[in-house]
């Protein structure tokens, strides 16, 4: 049984069709990549999974049960954690505070209840080490970390808080080549630890090496849902941009370059 299964999911905003007839599944220990260009409906897709929005049609099964989340908290409680593009981090706050934000471990009894700082710092440090990052000073503000490290804090946080399904929204889009490589490695790490990972990206060359399953969205519609064996990287790229359109773009570009003549050097 798949960890998470979506059957013909649709979402409408008034008369705008944000998402229509999307079907895919996520298995434990596997990476499902959701590919799509800008405006393809990727954001709507994750927001439904994470409980920010609710689907209007279709079936959303979590471990076989049909579910419908009313808030991100509910989704989180069922083990679906989303790491958004903005990472849901407070830059001025320290690494450990960000790590535990909203779920701080406490000592004492209310109203004399305080954060167990020692434990929180140690756990944050250990969890980051498991992701392969040595944070020496967890008091450092998150704003001083590099983009990749911030991603890793967000991922480590989701993993630590018992996520079964981890949704990563464009984790590599703002990163350089080297940092992207680091983040892709975390994605593989997370899957190896038994999580179902949903990796949302518009970059097929990032998706293909780590993905086990690919869902391609274009203008709110599913362009296909493939296992890795069923598709190649260049096919993915084609499907993403709507096949014919990309071919046409390629021709146009070639014509433009030809007319400009050979660039010097």
């Amino acid at each position: 049984m798949a960890l998470l299964e979506l059957k013909d999911i649709s979402k409408f905003y008034g008369n705008i069709i944000a998402l229509q007839g999307v079907t895919t599944e996520v298995n434990a220990g596997e990476v499902t990549c959701v590919l799509g260009d800008n405006g393809a409906g990727k954001s709507t897709f994750i927001k439904i999974l994470a409980g920010v929005h609710q689907h209007d049609e279709g079936e959303f099964l979590l471990e076989g049960d049909p579910v419908r989340f009313n808030s991100p908290r509910e989704a989180l409680d069922r083990g679906i954690a989303a790491v958004y593009q903005d990472l849901a981090m407070v830059p001025l706050m320290s690494v450990w505070r960000n790590f535990f934000l909203g779920s701080e471990p406490t000592k004492g009894v209310w109203p004399l209840e305080w954060i167990d700082r020692g434990a929180a710092k140690q756990i944050a440090k250990d969890e980051m080490a498991k992701m392969g990052i040595d944070i020496r000073d967890t008091e450092q503000p998150v704003g001083t970390l590099s983009g990749g490290e911030r991603q890793s804090v967000a991922i480590a946080r989701a993993v630590y808080f018992g996520a079964k399904v981890l949704i990563l929204d464009e984790p590599t889009s703002a990163l350089g080549v080297k940092q992207s490589g680091v983040v892709l490695r975390y994605i593989v790490e997370a899957a190896k630890r038994g999580l179902g990972v949903i990796f949302i990206t518009h970059n097929p060359s990032h998706a293909y090496p780590v993905g086990d399953r690919f869902l391609i969205l274009n203008r709110g519609k599913s362009m296909g849902n493939f296992a890795k064996s069923e598709v190649t990287q260049s096919e993915l790229t084609q499907l993403m941009a709507g096949g014919a359109e990309l071919e046409q773009l390629q021709h146009e570009l070639e014509a433009a370059i030809a007319s400009k003549g050979t660039p010097a050097g």
């Binding site: 991100p72 958004y84 406490t106």
Partner: protein, 862 residues
């Protein structure tokens, strides 16, 4: 699974996470700039204004800072960290005071009003206050409008309501008196006593019984129980004629609870909200002992805490048990002090007391040493085989501390000039020995001898600041010698400067300042623009172009010079000149030290020793030259202590190695030591402020009250700081202020947190309203209006960002202290008090600039 993890991903560290030393970590704390500023401003006023440095001055500063400013500033700071403002907070303080009085008092000629008991009115007004906060928060949250607008509306509603209700009910723009409750109760009591007096024999007994009064002890000249009616009647009549129940109480020896008519809880609550500690009634001969020992031990602990966090420990030496070990040491020293006191200070005639205090001293000392003994092995670290014997290592601090105690004794044993400086010098020597011994024992030897650290100008770049520093020191001394320290006539009068000459001088100085900024201002402007608030960006634009910068600096300097010339007296100007030059000398020489460190550590340490010598020279100069007592003694001691600390630091940094990697254990211990030290210092100063010695009383020291409001302020600040730093709610405040959407996504109840913040502010306004009501008894309709900006200014001066997500309640409390010092200091320095708003404006600007500057510097230094 974790095996593979470790295999595939080896931990890597990022160069961005470089180690930050203890000083850098301190500098990024938001309140540190405010703390330094507060000390500097206090020092300036201390030099020029008589009440500063005395208990009466401290009392009034603390009282002004405490309520309403401090409590509100702390609450407003929490709200600001959460990213919101409350412009209704000032008006709310008055509103809740008025509400309380209207609820309890029969206003308008004893009719109207609610006539509730205070026990009902206080909770009711609290509910109303929380309601206001809830309303503000909910409207801000639901509508998504800026809190600025919403609370501005609340402000006008409150202001209008205050005027309207006051006029409607009382027909005045102020309330009736709250203490009328007490007067009414007294009147009722007198009436009943008169009734008892008028009755006779059995009737009197019956009345007494009715009232539930039993007289157990017959009182002087008035044996009511036995029916001595005459005396009672006389007493009651005398008292009621004078409308003075105190007199009755005195005459009859009865207490207020003699007949319980009830005052609606006024007496009890008055003690809670307006109790006054009368300092002159508490004679503590041992006060100065506790003060000196507490402050010295506290400052030493803080210094040792810095060492602990800065230096590398010797291998094998642990951190466990150090704090109780040092605590035992402090107790032992207190015992030693008591013994010395018993041997030398106690009047020889009082043998019993002398022997008793000697024995008590021995007991305390033994207890302290026992604690040290118990933790000695833990403190030593287990299994260390080192060249230094363990006992010596553990006790390295002791001989120095003992010498210091002897110094304290010398300081207090004699009033003579010679004894005083000998005492201070002995303390300094004790500190040097103790600290060096401790550091030798505890930290890894080796030092950073002649290793080049950092980048920047090398070679002889330290020469010019060194020359400037030494020059400023000498010039300062010459000026101080030349100007009359005992002359309090106005500067312009004394020097015969007329208005035009004054104007001319100010223009010259302004032009000079403009010239200097024109030459050297670029670094300053770029530092400003690196700060991220709107204010600093605005300033950077203003100061970014050389012409603009020169004009700004010129005009500002002109204004300040003009102010100074019109306001300062000869002795005040002397003090200011001397302190500015001393400050210039110290900063220049420390700059020289830093620059020299880059090329040679040894040279840096030598220059630091030279600086220490300069400070010591200034200390002795002040002793020799000054007429004022506080300069001769207190300034001297402080400067000598600074010199000692500098000298020790120079030697220790030469001999030991700084840490280059974090050490959580050492940081935790250091923090503990610093907190313990801070508590000791506060304890020492508190003892000094709260009691008097017989000698002081004989010298005719005026009475000073300490209001319980100060405790409310301190308590509220402490609670707020704990909540902000240690609880989940505190974390959420930073989160919603720093990034509301993000915090919502991870499950922080953002709306609830913000609403609760508004409720905290209105709770504070309620508390302040109560404090005002009990202090003033009657509240004007306009009380508090417009003060919300002062709260915000105090918070900003304390390092709180206007943009939210960064700040500190401790800083806000310090900001309130700074504002209070301006309020108190300017009139006491005999400057025209209208200038205090100029002062507040300048302080605000400086605080914002300094905060940004320090933070950008600290973050660059990473």
């Amino acid at each position: 699974m974790s095996d593979t993890t470790a295999g595939t991903a080896s931990p890597q560290s990022d160069e961005r996470l470089a180690y930050r030393g203890v000083f850098q970590r301190m500098l990024v704390r938001p309140e540190i700039g405010a703390a330094i500023g507060a000390l500097a401003i206090w020092a300036i006023f201390w030099a020029v204004a008589v009440p500063f440095g005395k208990a009466s001055g401290a009392s009034s500063i603390l009282d002004v800072a405490a309520s309403p400013l401090g409590i509100m500033a702390v609450a407003v700071a929490m709200l600001m960290i959460g990213g919101e403002f409350d412009l209704s907070s000032g008006a709310a303080t008055g509103a809740f005071g008025i509400l309380l009085i209207l609820m309890v008092r029969d206003v308008v000629g004893d009719s109207g009003g609610w006539g509730l008991s205070l026990w009902t009115a206080v909770p009711l007004s609290l509910i109303a206050a929380l309601g206001l906060g809830w309303f503000n928060g909910t409207v801000v949250d639901r509508t998504g409008l800026p809190s600025f607008i919403v609370t501005l509306a609340s402000f006008f509603v409150l202001k209008g309501a205050k005027l309207g209700f006051s006029k409607q009910i009382v027909d005045q723009i102020q309330t009736g008196r709250l203490d009328q409750l007490l007067i009414d109760a007294d009147a009722a009591r007198i009436e009943q006593l008169l009734a008892i007096g008028a009755a006779s024999g059995g009737a009197q007994d019956a009345l007494l019984e009715d009232l539930g009064v039993t007289l157990t002890t017959p009182v002087d000249g008035l044996d009511v129980g036995d029916g001595s009616v005459g005396a009672l009647v006389t007493a009651v009549e005398t008292a009621s004629e004078n409308d003075n129940l105190r007199q009755l109480e005195e005459l009859a020896g009865v207490s207020r609870s003699f007949i319980d008519v009830g005052d609606g809880g006024y007496s009890t609550l008055n003690d809670v909200f307006a109790y006054d500690w009368l300092r002159n009634e508490h004679i503590w001969e041992w006060r100065d002992w506790l003060y000196t020992i507490g402050v010295l031990a506290g400052l030493s602990l803080i210094a040792l805490a810095v060492y602990e966090m800065h230096f590398r420990r010797r291998p094998g030496i642990g951190t466990a048990g150090i704090l109780p070990f040092l605590g035992g040491g402090v107790v032992g020293l207190a015992g030693l002090a008591t013994i010395i006191n018993a041997l030398f200070l106690v009047d020889g005639d009082n043998r019993v007391f002398q022997v008793a205090s000697f024995l008590v001293g021995v007991l305390i000392a033994v207890a302290g040493v026992a604690v040290m003994q118990r933790y000695r092995d833990r403190a030593n670290g287990q299994g260390v085989a080192d060249a230094v014997p363990s006992l010596v290592r553990a006790s390295a601090l002791l001989p120095g501390a003992a010498i210091a105690v002897v110094g304290v004794w010398r300081l207090h044993a004699t009033d003579s000039v010679g004894g005083n400086w000998v005492g201070a010098l002995i303390i300094a020597v004790g500190m040097v020995i103790g600290f060096l011994g401790w550091s030798r024992a505890r930290y890894e030897p080796g030092g950073n001898v002649d290793t080049v650290v950092g980048e920047g100008p090398q070679g002889s770049s330290y020469v010019s600041p060194l020359v400037i520093g030494l020059g400023a020191l000498v010039v300062g001394m010459v000026i101080a010698r030349w100007m009359d320290s005992d002359n309090d006539t106005n500067l312009v009068v004394e020097w015969g400067i007329n208005g035009w000459a004054m104007f001319f001088i100010s223009i010259l100085v302004g032009l000079a300042a403009a010239g200097i900024t024109g030459l050297r201002g670029d670094a300053f402007a770029s530092a400003l623009s690196a700060g991220d608030t709107a204010v600093s960006r605005g300033l950077a634009v203003l100061l970014g172009t050389p012409g603009m910068r020169m004009r700004t600096a010129g005009i500002l300097t002109f204004v300040v010079t003009q102010l100074f010339l019109t306001q300062a007296t000869i002795q005040g100007a002397r003090a200011i000149f001397f302190m500015i030059l001393l400050g210039l000398a110290a900063t220049s020489m420390l700059t020289a030290v830093n620059r020299a460190r880059r090329s040679s550590h040894t040279l840096g340490s030598l220059l630091l020793l030279l600086t220490a010598a300069g400070v010591a020279a200034a200390a002795f100069f002040i002793r020799w030259d000054s007429a004022t007592h506080k300069f001769r003694t207190e300034m001297f001691s402080v400067l000598l202590a600074v010199a000692a600390l500098m000298a020790i630091w120079a030697v220790i940094t030469l001999l030991h190695r700084a840490r280059s990697a974090p050490d959580a254990e050492a940081d935790a211990l250091g923090r503990g030591m610093a907190i313990a030290g801070g508590v000791l210092v506060v304890f020492g100063i508190g003892v000094r402020l709260l009691g008097v010695t017989q000698a002081e009383l004989d010298g005719g020291i005026g009475p000073t009250n300490f209001s319980v409001r100060i405790l409310w302020f301190l308590g509220f600040t402490a609670l707020a700081t704990w909540v902000l730093g240690r609880t989940r709610f505190g974390s959420w405040i930073f989160a919603v202020g720093g990034n509301k959407e993000a915090s919502r996504q991870v499950g922080v109840p953002a709306s609830r947190t913000k609403t609760q913040l508004f409720m905290i502010v209105s709770f504070a306004a309620w508390l302040v309203g109560l404090l005002l009501a009990f202090r003033l008894n009657t509240i004007q309709a306009s009380t508090g209006d417009g003060e919300e900006f002062e709260y915000i200014i105090a918070a900003v001066v304390g390092g709180n960002a206007l943009t939210g997500g960064r700040g500190s309640t401790l800083g806000a409390a310090i900001g309130a202290l700074i504002m209070a010092m301006a309020v108190q200091g300017i009139p006491s320095a005999r400057w025209n008090s209208d200038w205090r708003f100029v002062f507040v404006g300048v302080i605000l600007l400086l605080a914002v600039i300094a905060n940004n500057f320090i933070r950008t510097q600290a973050e660059q230094a990473r």
